[in-house]
Symmetry: D2
Subunit: 337 residues, 4 copies
């Protein structure tokens, strides 16, 4: 293929982000965006570099130039859109999670497999330079056998309550990135989850039967253990730290900051807070994510985050929810089909 001709479904926060990144990619022609609330986007549209804007995603599927769709609409629509894309033989980039339901996801998976198109899930953190280097060192056995994986992943602020309502819950919305990181870094499947959650940032979140704080224990197929701690609110910024520990050593990734300045004054010594928002923190990883997806289409190579990665992260999230609800550890099946 000479060029990716792209259609983007959904122009909310994440859709706009991908649109911005796609328009600087010289291998991409950004042809069409569909957005239900397209009327509100007229102003933005002018400078967006997008050729056409529509309210009906069907226009994207029926456009013969478009060979690749970016699914950035609400999660509840993902599985159907993936199937539609498969039927139109278009390559698919789909935001996380694929769906809230294992069967639906597996159906979509089957159709993608059959259609033989490329597929990538939006686990952008795999493209972060720190975590990528960490993964590569782990793979090269710099820490020997992995014994313990530790992820601290905290948002700077809880989302609006109405977002939370449709989010699928903390595990499916937020921890799912960490579940993917866990599999990516350890290189082994998660076979059991125990999750302990609490609604202590904001009790209203608890009233919605969701949680805002969690400690999650993972057991990997290779015998390693993992622990993730999540919070919806770290007042000092977006806290994203990972550590892999094994019988040969440990590798620790710290937060990224805007500058490396140290400021000594008469009261204390100050250093920068972690970058405050996921768009800043993972800016480069979002760019690389679409670049590498585009490259894998153009060069006909496997994408860096395949369908199974989406399925497994979602299953771990469901198991975590079940564990938190039941108060017991829950097994995770990693066989597909």
């Amino acid at each position: 293929m000479e060029k990716v001709v792209a259609g983007v479904i959904g122009a909310g926060r994440i859709g706009k982000l991908h649109i911005n990144n796609l328009k600087t990619n010289q291998n991409v022609r950004l042809k069409m965006v569909s957005e239900l609330f397209a009327d509100d986007l007229q102003e933005w549209f002018k400078d967006s570099g997008v050729e056409e804007i529509t309210k009906d995603y069907q226009d994207i599927f029926e456009d013969e130039d478009i060979n690749t769709v970016f699914i950035c609409s609400p999660t509840s629509t993902h599985a159907d859109l993936i199937k539609l894309a498969a039927s139109y033989k278009k390559h698919v980039f789909c935001e996380k999670p694929i769906s809230f339901n294992d069967e639906e996801t597996l159906e979509a998976y089957e159709q993608i497999k059959e259609a033989g198109v490329k597929f990538q899930v939006g686990f952008n953190r795999r493209f972060d330079k720190n975590f990528q280097e960490m993964q590569s060192r782990v793979e090269n056995r710099k820490v020997g056998d992995v014994h313990v994986l530790k992820i601290t992943s905290r948002d700077p602020k809880p989302p609006h309550l109405d977002y939370i309502e449709t989010s699928g819950g903390l595990f499916m919305d937020m921890s799912i990135h960490d579940f993917d990181m866990a599999r990516y870094l350890v290189g082994s499947e998660v076979v059991e989850v125990y999750a302990k959650g609490a609604a202590i940032v904001n009790p209203e979140i608890g009233e919605m039967e969701d949680i805002d704080t969690a400690v999650i224990t993972l057991t990997f197929d290779n015998g390693a253990l993992g622990v993730i701690d999540n919070s919806r609110e770290a007042v000092y910024g977006y806290d994203q730290r990972i550590e892999v520990f094994g019988n040969g050593g440990a590798i620790v990734a710290d937060n990224e900051t805007a500058t490396n300045l140290k400021y000594y004054h008469s009261n204390t010594v100050e250093i920068d807070q972690p970058l405050h928002f996921f768009l800043e923190r993972y800016n480069e990883s979002f760019i690389r994510e679409t670049q590498e997806f585009v490259d894998s289409i153009l060069n006909d190579t496997e994408t860096k985050v395949v369908f199974k990665d989406g399925i497994m992260a979602q299953r771990i999230a469901m198991a975590a929810k079940q564990s938190n609800d039941s108060g017991k550890p829950v097994k995770v099946n990693h066989e597909i089909g």
Copy 2:
């Protein structure tokens, strides 16, 4: 009281450590040491600053000058020795854990209470300058309400297998320090434990029905969550890091190192490993631990680590073991008597 006149029971590694620290304390007269294998210690005894050495601990109890005993013998003997000390009205410093058995420990507790003597458990880490400052800031609400406590606690090397046999297991021998730290730093009782262990450092440890790696989830009475990860072997040194996270911020304590040098050369940049052994790492905290115990006797103030601290750490360790055995979270009772 003008001076502490001390008798030390047990002159193994930890007993010798306390003897060394006591002899530099100007408020202490170190009168007698009892050690079953006293014959092997003749050489050491000469330079030890100890006046008398005996094979029979009864000599210590019957010595009327001695007003304080340091119990550094195997755990199985602690409870009886504490009761004996109470009956002789001597103050007691007892190494951790108090015993492997809640009833036994409670009996000893009752007798100490009745005797009205001072009692301190050997949770030396409470006297570490980093953790002490951390506790003080948490108490002063520098992180607001605590939401998550994280402890990473890894030994540089597993002990000999015959030590492991009588150790009471990883939770009772090693994690018990972390359980105490958890209560100390969060300032709230642990009400539930879920522990997931593995024997992946050395399978022989597994054959002894012990583990060498663990991830432990704690639930505190105030709603906070905690997580401890333990390993018997960190090849790069004694890894001791703690973090307290709350709705007002977070405080992180890193490892201590021998120097703060950074060495830049053509291959990489090197910094110091964590101090390698607990005797180096906690050297100062061991010194302060006995100093403050001695001061609390001389000034008739409460000790910094009271009997209940010993009871609770031990109960959490027992709950952790039960959880790991059963695969389920286990409640911890924090009522005494």
Copy 3:
């Protein structure tokens, strides 16, 4: 002006760098490049995004579309090209140093002033995020009155000896960036220089009457002192650290690294080396440098690095050389015209 139409004179390492950055700038049309050795560049030219390539820079001046020239040719040609640009009323971006000769530089300055075109010198480090934030804090008096400025600036490797021959010497070629940083950060003119150099990295550099190592003391008009230490070879990478110290505190900028990983293993703990090459280290600052220059043309605002900045850095470099040759401190005149 609607769009900058650019011509680039010289397509060596630095010329190519600017060409690459200009072609991603949506406000720039990169029309022509002149390069004496254009024949060797046919391959590169294809992908360069440049419309025309010529051997004769006169073509650039005579092209009526081109409103802005980027002078990236050898230093000996700068002054004449600047004057030519002034006569053609084209805006000028000129690489550092402007020339090796104060009079020549002042002549060029007069003509630019008269022509009323924009002018910017290539002191890219002013656009580094760390140093920019440092400057802003100093300006906002976060360190109070500046007392001492410290710059450590070391190259990873000496250039080829034939480059050194025409470089103008260490002070004019390398330290000149630091002299500009000094003025930029302290916000006061340098009035005296004492330089002590040595040829200890490579004695052949000494045989060419140049040096490869230097310690330079600066005195600022406001009473502050400064010190720069330079080396042509830091085997661990490109070492670029700055510190501003005042009566209100200090701000320290450390090196940038590829990742923030810490790798603990059985021998040591490793962190990343400083980024190894100026193109990586200052990649973003080179991009911003041209962006802001382009913006200042489009918005008709003052450039961020004006002609006087070029003149002064050059005078300080000349004074440093004179000081090193004579063994005495040398005054620097900061009056122009």
Copy 4:
């Protein structure tokens, strides 16, 4: 010798410091202290562990038990007291500087040499764990040939003006420690000094013809260059950093802090300031300094800071003053006798 029997001359701040350290040394009997203002010290004397206190230092010299004197009186008295000690064949520990006058110092040196007694100058920083390890690595060629030495040495606050009056000036009082460090770390003599000073912390210091801020360039016999920057006031604490850079790499020593805690909150991230006072910062080095001096007497080995070290640091200080006064670099003679 079995035991050092010590007399201390002068019980000001530094004298009391040594007295405190000596009394915890089991190889030392602290017999007598002489202090002109002994009457004011009655209260302190009670708890000092000193056997006798006198107003007349002659009592110390005439006491036949005393085999070692610690000279902690004002600098103007040092040389005479050293000569007296030599004539009484007593070992000498002398605070820095030995004197303000090269001839006087050399006379004292000759008499010590003739008497064959041990002598140590009070350059305590040589006993700091960071700098000691740095020196050892430099000696083991971990940075190859040394090219540049950098010392930042700043006091937290200027001393009282009346102290400054008799201090000998910044170079002799404060930088002298850095001059000694320079020789110690580089392992080569300083052959030339250029010093640029300013009175910008407090103009009253300037009125006394002293300075409070300085940048000092050193040239070493082996071709290396050095730079020291001094300030009498760093509002954030006692700033003591050193770096050795060579053709094999660099080693950097940072400040010491009370804890290693990082505190993240909604405004910033805070770390500890450098330890605020020299007594805290160099507490351990002062202890080791006397310990090693005592050991060298008991084991009849060479002291770690010999007479020549005192002579040379003093000469460099005098050269620095001369350079600052004359505005020219000044040669330093390192031949003795």
